[in-house]
């Protein structure tokens, strides 16, 4: 029988890489393979793909991708996705943005501060002037950079379709980049994985947990935004009120981000009832989720991220408590318990006590969660929605630079009017996607105009040039002499600009052609 499925090339990490998006892709491919002839292009040729899905060396993707090929990129904010970002530049296609902030990913890619400043300028031109100066001149780089520079402009511009997991994420992109740049953004929620979840009693026996304890679980990398501080304080309060429970954190600690173990020392009651497992594989994670009564999944501040653990817990029919913020607000009120953003410690303590006391309420939330997972978050439905986005994107033709001969470097001179409209924003726009050496002529009609401009907003060049652009040479071409063909200073201009006057700059522009 002829296989009529269209080929789909997917750039993504896969297990055994310890990466939530690798797990996500693996599960998604299990379903997508019924719709497409899927091939994963990965930087680990030993990656484990579902049966029937081939793995190939992503560095040799040019062998298999054609201009009309269907291409899907799965991108997240960690080192395992550097090759995906590079592939997106060479072979644009549909991209799933799992993290709405990608500052860290770009930071990993950039060699030195100037290329990073170039990317910041590209992402948020108005903010970059100030924050770039703070970083480069004063050594000030704070958490604000990670929040303010989401670095999504390049992804939006290069992709034929964009998938995000929440309406919050889409609205944020629309607010930052405008309707035109985001018209190809679609929302597909994070699916609930169709894994076989063990029964609660079986899971507890397997994990050596007491059959009758009230177990509260958390999971994943322990980061500051997951608010372990609030959780531990609230659980300590609950224990002090005489409510008995066990807390299990099924995930890896990241002491440099938030040191759970050392902070736990401050809560003696909780410390006696806590187990921190370290990194667990998918089976173990499922077992811990099945074993728990209550799953806590707080976020503050949230950048709109989704949670694979939460989706698993919903599918398992567990009662989940989340922060009432960002993408989590979109979860049905009857399917999860939403904690108000303000005073979360007290709210969480009240919620845990109430759910511990009222098991009927606890189980009602769990049943609703399971129903939500089986319908809206159903993997088959999610795969079909992926197919709709991929097929729709085929109508948006975009050149694939990786399949074209490299762009030849030109020695042409960029020209910008140097009058009253000259501004850092206009200069940044004129430089556009230029990287490396280039020449720029700021065109003036008279020396008087050059002087007025220079004095009016001194120092002119320091004010105009972005932080990632270095000035290599400056020449004043007196406009009054420009018409004189014997003027030797005119030799530096190409023939098509003969007779022009102004300030000729030779610039070194950092960046990676964002």
């Amino acid at each position: 029988m002829t296989d009529r499925r269209s080929p789909l090339n997917v750039f993504t990490p896969l297990p055994p890489e310890k990466n939530g998006i690798a797990d996500y892709s693996s599960i998604l491919l299990e379903e997508l393979r019924s719709l497409y002839d899927c091939t994963v292009l990965c930087d680990d040729c030993g990656a484990i793909a579902p049966p029937g899905v081939g793995v190939r060396d992503q560095a040799q993707a040019f062998r298999w991708i054609a201009p009309e090929s269907r291409v899907l990129h799965q991108i997240g904010n960690n080192r395992g996705h550097l090759f995906v970002l590079e592939a997106l530049r060479l072979f644009p296609g549909v991209v799933t943005i799992h993290d709405i902030g990608l500052f860290y990913l770009y930071e990993l890619e950039a060699r030195g501060i100037d290329p990073m400043l170039a990317q910041m300028m590209h992402s948020s031109p108005r903010l970059a002037a100030v924050y770039g100066r703070h970083w480069k001149r004063m050594g000030m780089k704070t958490a604000a950079n990670y929040a303010l520079f989401d670095m999504q402009r390049e992804l939006l511009a290069r992709s034929t379709g964009v998938i995000v997991h929440s309406h919050f994420a889409k609205a944020k992109l629309q607010a930052l980049y405008g309707a035109e740049a985001t018209r190809h953004v679609s929302v597909i929620p994070h699916f609930a994985p169709p894994a076989e979840m063990p029964e609660r009693a079986v899971a507890r026996q397997k994990l050596g947990l007491p059959a009758d304890a009230f177990i509260v679980a958390t999971s994943g990398f322990a980061t500051r935004a997951k608010r372990f501080d609030w959780m531990m304080e609230a659980l300590e309060q609950v224990l002090a009120e005489g409510v008995e429970l066990i807390w299990i954190h099924a995930g890896e600690e990241r002491p440099h981000e938030y040191d759970v173990s050392s902070q736990l020392e401050r809560y003696p009651l909780l410390r006696e009832r806590t187990r921190i497992t370290g990194y667990v594989d998918e089976d173990a994670l499922n077992a811990y989720i099945s074993a728990c009564d209550l799953l806590l999944n707080l976020r503050f501040p949230s950048v709109g991220e989704s949670s694979g653990t939460l989706a698993r817990a919903l599918a398992a029919g567990r009662c989940c408590v989340v922060s009432d913020t960002a993408a989590y607000r979109e979860l049905p009120r009857e399917a999860v318990v939403h904690l108000p953003v303000l005073d979360q410690v007290r709210s969480l303590a009240c919620a845990v006590s109430a759910l511990h006391r009222d098991r009927e309420l606890l189980h009602a939330f769990g049943a609703n969660a399971r129903r939500y997972a089986e319908t809206e978050l159903n993997i088959a439905s999610v795969a079909r929605r992926y197919r709709d986005v991929i097929e729709e994107s085929q109508g948006r033709a975009v050149a694939r630079p990786g399949l074209l001969p490299p762009r030849a470097k030109t020695n042409s001179v960029l020209v910008l009017d140097g009058g009253a409209d000259l501004s850092p924003q206009r200069l940044a726009a004129a430089l556009g996607e230029v990287t490396g050496s280039c020449s720029l002529l700021l065109k003036f009609s008279s020396m008087q105009e050059i002087i007025a401009s220079s004095l009016g907003d001194a120092p002119l060049l320091a004010r105009l040039l972005p932080e990632h652009v270095a000035l290599a040479d400056v020449r004043i071409l007196a406009p009054e002499d420009a018409a004189n063909s014997n003027d030797p200073s005119q030799d530096v201009l190409p023939p098509e600009l003969a007779g022009r006057g102004g300030i000729l700059l030779r610039l070194e522009v950092a960046g990676s052609a964002a």
Partner: protein, 346 residues
């Protein structure tokens, strides 16, 4: 999925191409003596495979898909000292000027070989180096003609069964008649000449025989001669050479167009940081994972054996990927495999 256009050489591929190239190498060597070869047909390297020596390069990276060009830029030659020839004039000049290279060896006729149009900048370098140019694609010869207008062209044609490969040899006019005579004489001695060249002033034509069957060693490439991506510079103890892969996990070797009848490859891995790097090794051919066997010599050494596909592709990149690299005990390198040599068997 089919392979994208733009990276496969024109004309016959696989066994016919490899056998024709081998015969061409033998023919040229017999007719003109020792040759300093610059093979611009990377990754196929058909003629270099026939001579088993020479400099590998690209004929015009600016005409290639950017992603292919970027990938080929990763490869190193000459024990890791240089990139491929053809990527930039400064690097190219350094490669040709390297007094350890065959290009600088005295007593050899310089010869560049290409299967696609050659960049004008490279043509100028070849003219300055007084190199002859052998082009498998007559169209490429036409494009080269304006740059090399002072050269004469000899047409050479090789036939194997229904396959035919047209070549043009560009060389100084003063030498053309003598070389044509020498080629005809060499072809006669090899017993492959088709027709009488005195009667036919056009192309010299050779009738190539298919390779004989048999199981034997076809080629052996020591570590120092590997064209690779993902390894450090080669090291040596006398004539014994080895190369450590790293810091990337994936080590790729360009094998070019393999000898006709090539059936399997053996990679001698004489050391690893820890045994699991061998246990969980992945082999790839042109980017696709393929099965392999380990002929274990010790916990940390083995021959990695990979069977080759039939028919052979026009060019072959063999990859070995380890699950992780290890910090070397003394030093700062992250290491994968220690490769001594590769052998290609029929």
């Amino acid at each position: 999925m089919s392979e994208a256009a733009g990276v496969a050489p024109p004309g016959p591929t696989g066994v016919p191409a490899a056998q024709m190239s081998r015969v061409m190498g033998t023919w040229l060597a017999r007719a003109i003596g020792p040759v300093a070869l610059l093979d611009l047909s990377f990754p196929a390297l058909n003629l270099m495979g026939a001579f088993r020596d020479g400099l590998p390069g690209l004929s015009d990276v600016s005409a290639m898909p950017a992603a292919a060009g970027a990938f080929f830029r990763r490869f190193r030659i000459a024990g890791g000292r240089h990139p491929l020839f053809g990527l930039g004039s400064a690097e190219d000049a350094a490669i040709l000027a390297d007094d350890r290279s065959i290009w600088s060896a005295g007593g050899r006729q310089r010869l560049a070989y290409a299967e696609a149009p050659v960049h004008p900048g490279i043509l100028r370098q070849l003219r300055e180096a007084e190199s002859w140019l052998l082009l498998r694609d007559p169209g490429a010869a036409m494009l080269a003609a304006p740059e090399l207008s002072e050269l004469d062209a000899l047409r050479l044609r090789l036939c194997l069964g229904e396959h035919a490969a047209e070549h043009v040899l560009l060389l100084p006019a003063r030498e053309a008649a003598g070389v044509r005579h020498g080629l005809a004489e060499a072809a006669r001695q090899l017993g492959l000449l088709e027709g009488d060249p005195e009667d036919r002033p056009g192309a010299l034509e050779l009738r190539v025989q298919p390779p004989p069957p048999g199981v034997h060693l076809l080629a052996e490439v020591p570590a120092a001669a590997l064209i690779h991506d993902g390894a450090y510079r080669s090291e040596a103890d006398g004539g014994y050479t080895w190369v450590w892969t790293g810091p990337a996990r994936h080590f790729r070797m360009a094998l070019g167009g393999l000898p006709a009848g090539a059936g399997w490859i053996k990679v001698a891995v004489i050391g690893v940081g820890k045994a699991s790097q061998l246990d969980r090794l992945v082999a790839t051919l042109n980017g696709v994972p393929v099965p392999h066997r380990l002929e274990r010599w010790s916990e940390t050494s083995a021959a990695v054996i990979v069977d080759l596909p039939d028919p052979l592709p026009g060019s072959l990149l063999l990859g070995l990927a380890v699950p992780e690299t290890m910090q070397e005990p003394e030093g700062s390198r992250r290491l994968g495999l220690c490769v001594h040599k590769i052998e290609i068997f029929a």
